[in-house]
Symmetry: C2
Subunit: 327 residues, 2 copies
């Protein structure tokens, strides 16, 4: 699909220029986007990641979510300088939670940035998004990549910081939420990077891939496309098969379009997934349908399940003001 | 792009089943979706239209927006029965504003339904969405189709009803808002209807069409894809060239993805459009970026401009609770 852009090299900076113009609360310092002073209090929540997944990551720089975001090129991690700028801009003397997806480059650069700022007594704690069950098993959190579920962790962490929890508490609650969060996705068509001669990967017409990563990383299987109900069944089964820390009777169920897949089709999948969960004694307390974490115009969707306790549910429901969040 | 669905004939009903499950405030009677009693007061706002444009139309059945929606098959108007059910369910004795896009079939069926309910003393007023400048000139409101701008009219009408305005007043304010609202769009790739053997229309690779309708109706020109800035310039120029009732210095500018086009690319276009408007002495008071009115997985976007006066701006900013609305 043709892209609506100018020069491919200017893509990310022009996106950020546009974003700043749409939201007076945002400021930009190079590739770090920050929330205006006064919009948040307490512990700073800082994230970052590659572009091409909007609204993830930078779209969640908003009251009740993250305070600052380091922005990388399309599908590439942010620079050390951007990570450092984001942390410094966000810190209010109470330390920063660095909350981002488990990818090698992102981790290396955030680690280096946190070493730099710690020289100036800005304390950092790190929590990684590791929700993707296709990239690692239940006991392999270090292998599992972070995908759409990160948005739910933003909300949990932001709400905990907003109510005045200290850095250790915010980090602990967010880590526990992550231990109770899993995502699985399916892809039906590829995306094209700005300036690239063709699609990032090839998925033959009429095929579907279960568990493909948000940059086209190989998934668990690739096969003929099947009906929505069969796909929903398998996704729910795989999510429930993965043991989490505290399975409870209430969940947040987020169905996320990877880009091109219409929300109508997420509703068809939702109908079946919610029924399956009900059969397993699980109630969807918080349904979410939307474009939360995309891969440009990739076809497909992801299903994220967060098991709730009373505190997590309250934090997910706490007031916030981000235009890309919907409950 | 492959669709995530079961039987094509069940597509719309399964979408509605899913929608109802995601929102406890909604009820369904056949192809009419209604908001629970008590969620609204005063004049009823009723809409309807074909499926395939989600969140338009039915996704806006929410406090502060529409009270009921008659739902047609994909890209087909709703039945008379659905229109009648929607009006009857929504009416609270203060009459109903029928607010939908200017398409022949929709108009015929809503007109018949309003004749039926008027036998039972339910008074109806009709306001048509006619924002698409590609389908008719400034003086040809009867020819102009309704596209994404309808969402802004929902908000205006819903907020006016919420503050207690009577039917004539709600209709007048909504009609005036429509007279100050214009939309132009571009398409870059087609969508495929559920069960159809192939795409609805053909747009050769690397081409763009200005003004294509949301069902693939022919636009103003089709040519080689150009840069985002050139496209934004032409869209703004055409929107400003169309005389509206009351041009003012403040506007709502809504950039809407038709489906597959990423929000990042809308931000690139927004950056240029806002600058162009500023040059013309116009300030964007309300920027909107999102998927508001789609054509399944069509590539492309639309730009809607509503000229604001104090009242319209207040109504657009009034509290509401729809998960598919973002300001």
């Amino acid at each position: 699909m043709p892209k609506l852009m100018n020069d491919a090299d200017a893509y990310v900076d022009e996106v950020l220029d546009g974003l700043i113009l749409t939201d007076a609360r945002l400021a930009r310092e190079g590739r770090a986007v920050t929330l205006a002073e006064g919009a948040r209090k307490g512990v700073a929540i800082v994230s970052g990641g590659g572009s091409g997944h909007f609204p993830l990551f930078v779209g969640y720089t908003a009251p009740g979510f993250i305070d600052a975001c380091a922005v990388g090129d399309v599908f590439a991690g942010p620079s050390v300088a951007a990570c450092e700028s984001a942390i410094r801009a966000a810190d209010r003397g109470q330390g920063a939670l660095l909350l981002y997806g488990n990818y090698g480059g992102d981790k290396m650069n955030f680690d280096m940035a946190s070493e730099m700022v710690e020289l100036d007594d800005i304390r950092c704690e790190t929590v990684l998004g590791t929700d993707d069950i296709a990239s690692g098993g239940a006991e392999e959190a270090d292998k599992r990549r972070g995908v759409a579920g990160l948005v739910l962790l933003y909300k949990i962490a932001g709400a905990a910081a907003d109510r005045g929890d200290d850095l250790d508490t915010v980090a602990r609650i967010t880590r526990e939420a992550g231990a109770n969060l899993r995502t699985v996705g399916i892809a039906t068509s590829s995306c094209t990077l700005p300036g690239a001669p063709g699609p990032s990967f090839t998925l033959e017409a009429g095929k579907v891939e279960l568990g493909m990563g948000i940059h086209g990383e190989p998934g668990l299987w690739r096969d003929d496309l099947r009906g929505a109900d069969a796909l929903a069944d398998e996704m729910v089964e795989r999510l429930l098969a993965d043991p989490v820390a505290q399975r409870s009777g209430r969940v947040c169920l987020m169905l996320n379009s990877l880009g091109a897949t219409p929300l109508e089709e997420l509703l068809i999948l939702y109908r079946r997934a919610a029924a399956r969960l009900e059969e397993a004694g699980i109630t969807v307390a918080l349904p979410m349908i939307g474009h939360f974490a995309t891969s440009m115009e990739m076809g497909g969707m992801s299903m994220s399940l967060m098991h709730l306790d009373e505190e997590r549910e309250a934090l997910l429901r706490a007031p916030s003001d981000c235009r890309y969040w919907r409950v």
